[in-house]
């Protein structure tokens, strides 16, 4: 043995008084890297409970759970993700797929608990030290799995389309439809928003799978006017779509249209209504609008004998007379109504209840009656000069155009109002060759018209005069002089919109050839008076919200005449509900 072998163990002692390399207690934790994928954080105010994080999680670590304080409302399921950290592998797919960008990850990775149950919690709901962490992983434009941009729709350029009443939207190509359908996250938040609760994710999936026939069947499950809705629906579903939080919502309406546009040849064959056993019960429907015809369509499926009375020469109601052809061509509506007639619904046009046949008579002859007369009377403004010949009512104006009239309205038209009817009137007047100026008493933000409608009107060259109201109209030298007053917005009123107030001394005059008032609609009460059906304080038919029953046994009401002026899909929803309720009634339930 060498001397060195004996001495070398003591060699280590030379470092005995140096600073040690080990870490002193209490231990100082090292912070995670700035983009570290640590415990999740969730902004509960931004999260809408769509459950896409749960769907993508490859370890089934996420559950959607109810949380106190989170309400189930339009566009928000009220559920929030709960994460099981016994399963989470920190891959961050949930963060990358979150459409609202509410879900993120902190850079915190140190946390100790002996209780296994502590490792399942709702980020943001169960408070944790890292909830306010600015650091950690967030998705970026590059890693985000949501496609925020819509597949583009073919349309006619504003300069061309404003010269005629031809349809302006041309529909999706298959390529564009597949591209758009691929953006859907299948959360189903849209279903609640739809008045007739269409199964939107299911029919979008049918498009993706190339199963258009199944897609069409899904549409007819809840809505016999899908082709029209695919063009003119107010699309509450798109407002609720979570993809809209950080991008453009799914073009649900256009996808629906894609299905109907591409299944024209099989439409007749999917509904097999010939061999339905008849119940022998007779149902009368007053008014062949979307509510009445929807009710008729489903009532026929129950096997009841359905007869619809319509005062106009053609069925369709507001879909026909209230919506111009450039948005909804007549033949589209006609072929949808033909399917309804083929299902066994008899439509008697040119019959006015109260004149050609009494309401009493109908009540006696039929086992049940559904009143869906709509809100057909356009209201005018109580201002001086509103009875001048150059002043028209919006609904009457649209009705004349839908019947093929092309009235000479001169070079300049003023449209009063800010709703969808006002937009339809303005754009129709433009197509008749007139300059158009819309006068609205609130600002653009408060307009009840769909933003898309307003945009398209602006593209076509409709001028807008916001915060303005007409006070007086006179005719001078063959022209109309509108004395208007400027408004300002005061406190919000009962509708939540800020109430307009007149500004003193702000009067000015606009000259025009024609003025159209599109400021409201009300219900024709002839049927109600004759049959003795109770109306509410706004003059609408009073009906039970679940059963659509009125004050008279066997009489049901729905659509605009019951809700007040609303959109087509709302009418379709109540029509469907009424069909079910009438069948319950006829079955003695």
């Amino acid at each position: 043995m060498k001397l060195r072998d004996i001495i070398s163990p003591f060699y280590a002692w030379k470092r005995a008084f140096e600073k040690p390399f080990t870490i002193m207690r209490p231990r100082t934790d090292r912070e995670g890297a700035p983009a570290y994928r640590g415990f999740h954080i969730n902004d509960l105010g931004k999260c809408v409970g769509c459950g896409t994080c749960e769907a993508i999680c490859q370890n089934a670590a996420i559950d959607m759970v109810e949380l106190p304080g989170q309400e189930t409302k339009r566009g928000d399921s009220g559920l929030r993700p709960s994460i099981d950290y016994g399963r989470c592998c920190w891959c961050a797919l949930c963060v990358d797929v979150c459409p609202t960008a509410s879900l993120g990850m902190s850079n915190e990775y140190n946390w100790i608990s002996d209780d296994g149950e502590d490792w399942v919690f709702v980020p943001g709901g169960d408070q944790k030290p890292w909830d306010m962490s600015e650091k950690g992983y967030r998705t970026t434009d590059e890693s985000w799995l949501i496609e925020p941009v819509r597949a583009s729709m073919r349309f006619v350029e504003p300069d061309v389309r404003k010269k005629n009443f031809d349809e302006m939207m041309l529909g999706y190509t298959t390529e564009a439809a597949l591209e758009e359908a691929a953006r859907c996250i299948e959360c189903g938040l849209c279903i609640e928003a739809c008045p007739t609760h269409m199964d939107v994710p299911q029919y979008i999936k049918a498009i993706r799978d190339g199963e258009l026939e199944e897609g069409l069947r899904i549409l007819y499950d809840t809505n016999p006017f899908s082709e029209s809705c695919g063009r003119v629906c107010t699309a509450h579903c798109e407002t609720a779509c979570p993809v809209g939080a950080q991008g453009r919502p799914l073009a649900i309406r256009w996808l629906k249209r894609y299905i109907t546009d591409n299944t024209l040849d099989i439409r007749d064959s999917i509904l097999e209504t010939e061999d339905i056993p008849a119940t022998g019960k007779k149902v009368a429907i007053i008014g062949a609008g979307p509510a009445g015809l929807t009710a008729g369509f489903y009532l026929a499926h129950y096997g009841h004998e359905v007869r619809v009375f319509e005062q106009q020469d053609k069925p369709g109601g507001m879909l026909l007379s209230g919506i111009p052809e450039y948005r909804l061509p007549d033949e589209v509506l006609a072929r949808e109504i033909k399917v309804i007639e083929d299902a066994g619904v008899e439509i008697k046009t040119g019959v006015r209840v109260g004149k050609d046949i009494s309401a009493r008579q109908i009540l006696d002859d039929y086992d049940a009656v559904f009143v869906s007369v709509g809100a057909q009377i356009g209201t005018d403004m109580p201002v001086e000069g509103s009875d001048l010949p150059a002043v028209h009512i919006g609904l009457d104006f649209l009705d004349r155009i839908s019947k093929g009239e092309r009235p000479d309205i001169g070079k300049k038209t003023i449209v009063v109002g800010g709703g969808n009817t006002a937009m339809d009137v303005a754009r129709s007047a433009l197509r008749l060759g007139s300059e158009v100026e819309v006068v609205y008493r609130r600002s653009r933000k408060e307009m009840p018209a769909n933003a898309e409608e307003v945009e398209e009107a602006m593209e076509e060259g409709v001028e807008f005069n916001f915060l303005t109201t007409p006070e007086k109209m006179t005719e001078q030298g063959g022209r109309l002089h509108l004395t208007c007053r400027r408004m300002r917005l005061g406190e919000p009123d009962s509708s939540g919109r800020r109430r307009p107030e007149a500004i003193e001394g702000s009067e000015f005059t606009i000259e025009a050839d024609t003025c159209v008032m599109a400021i409201g609609q009300k219900v024709e009460d002839e049927v109600a008076r004759e049959a003795g059906i109770k109306l509410d304080k706004w003059g609408n038919f009073e009906a039970d919200q679940e059963r659509m029953t009125t004050s008279i046994d066997g009489v049901f009401a729905g659509g605009d005449c019951e809700t007040g002026p609303d959109d087509a899909v709302g009418a379709i929803g109540t029509g469907k509900k009424a069909a079910w309720s009438i069948n319950e009634y006829l079955s003695g339930r």
Partner: protein, 197 residues
């Protein structure tokens, strides 16, 4: 770096350069040229350090894209050589004779993607997945969710809700009932007809 890229393109049929940063460029070459190209880069162009080898499964195109990342200490920049190989019976020439360390990456690619590197030492020995059966887990057709459902037992007491169903129960329960009933009606008629026919 530009000269080197031009050389790769002319000598080894390289495609267009994909310049990610000033000091990081990727070039795709045919799989058969990879070993020669890497040898050239190591011995003639100064890219002596093999940073890593990795793969991406482009299942749509039916290929694995291999990436060999090299670093030059002199030029302080990186070149990535990419090559596509077929997904079926995926196999690639080994480069363990150029860099002994490559055998570790190749063993890992064999295990995670099922790409064979004949001749590479210990290439068939597992690194992580002892006793693994079925397709390699990094392949896109591997169903991760199914695997975790089958492998890991569920925690007791967990429950979840479907957002659409939950909203129906909470906000429009009676209308949902109407919807189901009408849907059954419309569908039921068709089914009956179908059965008869």
């Amino acid at each position: 770096m530009k000269d080197t890229i031009d050389k790769i393109r002319s000598m080894f049929d390289g495609g267009d350069a994909d310049e990610k940063r000033e000091d990081l460029v990727f070039v795709t070459v045919p799989a058969t040229q990879v070993v020669d190209c890497l040898g050239y880069l190591r011995d003639r162009a100064g890219y002596r350090h093999l940073v890593m080898i990795s793969a991406v499964d482009y299942i749509e195109r039916g290929v694995f894209q291999l990436t060999y990342l090299l670093h030059s200490y002199e030029k302080q920049n990186d070149i990535g050589i990419r090559a596509d190989i077929g997904r079926d019976d995926a196999s690639m020439d080994s480069i363990h004779r150029l860099w002994a360390a490559a055998q570790v990456y190749q063993r890992e690619l064999r295990e995670m993607f099922g790409i064979d590197f004949p001749g590479s030492p210990r290439v068939d020995e597992p690194m992580l997945l002892e006793g693994w059966e079925g397709i390699p887990p990094m392949r896109r057709d591997f169903d991760t969710k199914k695997y975790s459902e089958e492998t890991f037992f569920p925690r007791e007491g967990r429950k979840t809700a479907d957002p659409a169903t939950h909203m129906a129960e909470k906000n429009y329960a009676s209308e949902e009932q109407v919807k189901r009933s009408v849907k059954d009606l419309v569908r039921g008629r068709r089914k009956r007809k179908g059965n008869d026919g």
